[in-house]
């Protein structure tokens, strides 16, 4: 999927080439798995985990970090969660970098009055502990708007939030809203009209049992035209997500 963004993926660990070959065969992995046996490259990036004493099996591992690197070697962006139990999913990177969600990723379409919202995940499948992405595409009929932030009291900001114990952290960002002047109150407030898209992330709990779960969420907004302002609305939605079983460690085959 990420290849469609003109990107390639490679992964670095301190495992031997032999271990990586077995791992790639067992799980049908085709991306390059690079063997940094003495952790020299991990050190040169400055991400060696220095908490692990010599003699321990994990001595030499990095703090997990993902870099998006231009072909000339410049870092464009980096992705990490400051906790070794969590990783940013490649699907989340692809969604953020190119707006592309995985083909089979679930999405729902919600409609109310002049507003249509499509909310979808970056992928249909994920591992416990991963950070996955989601998008929310809003489309308003001409003459209507919904609100951004910050707002004076009495208006409802547009938001998308997820609920449930599977999510330990979430974020959602919309583009900067354009200020508009409301006719009836004479106030200037940030608002969206036409089509616009927000992107978010969901950090999944670690551990979680594998299998299919349903992520529930709600989109909140208040739609207004030049003459009518509807009451704030909250529309619930559900998106399915399949949690993959954890890969068995190779344990040196």
């Amino acid at each position: 999927m990420i290849e469609r963004s003109g990107l390639r993926i490679a992964a670095v660990s301190y495992d031997s080439q032999e271990t990586l070959r077995h791992f790639a065969e067992k799980y049908h992995i085709r991306i390059p798995l690079l063997s940094d046996r003495d952790s020299a490259v991990i050190r040169s990036f400055g991400i060696l985990n220095t908490n692990i004493a010599p003699g321990l099996r994990a001595h030499g591992v990095p703090h997990p970090v993902e870099y998006l690197i231009a072909p000339d070697g410049l870092v464009l962006r980096k992705y990490f969660v400051p906790n070794y139990q969590h990783r940013v999913a490649a699907s989340s990177v692809a969604l953020r970098e190119s707006g592309v969600a995985s083909e089979e990723a679930p999405a729902v379409t919600l409609r109310s009055g002049a507003l249509t919202v499509v909310i979808g995940l970056s992928a249909a499948r994920a591992f416990a502990g991963q950070e996955i992405g989601f998008f929310a595409k809003f489309a308003l009929e001409p003459g209507w708007h919904v609100y951004g932030a910050p707002l004076p009291e009495g208006y409802a900001t547009t938001s998308v939030t997820f609920d449930g114990p599977a999510i330990v952290h979430q974020s959602f960002e919309l583009p900067t809203a354009a200020p508009i002047r409301t006719d009836f109150l004479g106030e200037t407030v940030p608002a969206y009209s036409g089509s616009f898209q927000g992107l978010g992330s969901l950090l999944l709990r670690f551990p979680l049992d594998d299998g299919r779960i349903v992520l529930s969420g709600r989109v909140r907004f208040q739609q207004c035209s030049g003459t009518v302002c509807e009451a704030p609305e909250t529309i619930p939605f559900e998106l399915p997500l399949t949690l993959e079983p954890f890969m068995d460690a190779m344990r040196s085959k």
Partner: protein, 89 residues
């Protein structure tokens, strides 16, 4: 030998060994030990080069033994380089 290892690393090592011992034995890991293990491992979390900086040059063998560097890894828009802990355990 153990005296060469700083005291805080020795404390962390004790936590990691106990955590590893329980896991290997298939025994439940108490919440408190789990939390201490996570904190000990995540301490001084370092994330390396910042956006706009250049990565250090590297050349590493892939799983087939082919030498790989940014020149033969990147796509037209670049490379997502993922550093992870281990495929072995």
């Amino acid at each position: 030998m153990a005296n060469d290892i700083p005291e805080d690393l020795q404390e962390k090592a004790a936590i990691m060994r106990e955590f590893g011992r329980l896991r290997a034995a298939g025994q439940p890991v108490p919440d408190e030990l789990q939390a201490r293990h996570v904190n000990a491992t995540n301490d001084r979390y370092a994330t390396g080069p910042e956006p706009g900086e250049r990565i250090p040059y590297f050349s590493l063998p892939d799983q087939e033994g082919v030498p790989r560097s940014i020149a033969n890894l990147a796509g037209p828009n670049g490379l997502l380089l993922v550093f992870y802990r281990s495929a072995d355990w």
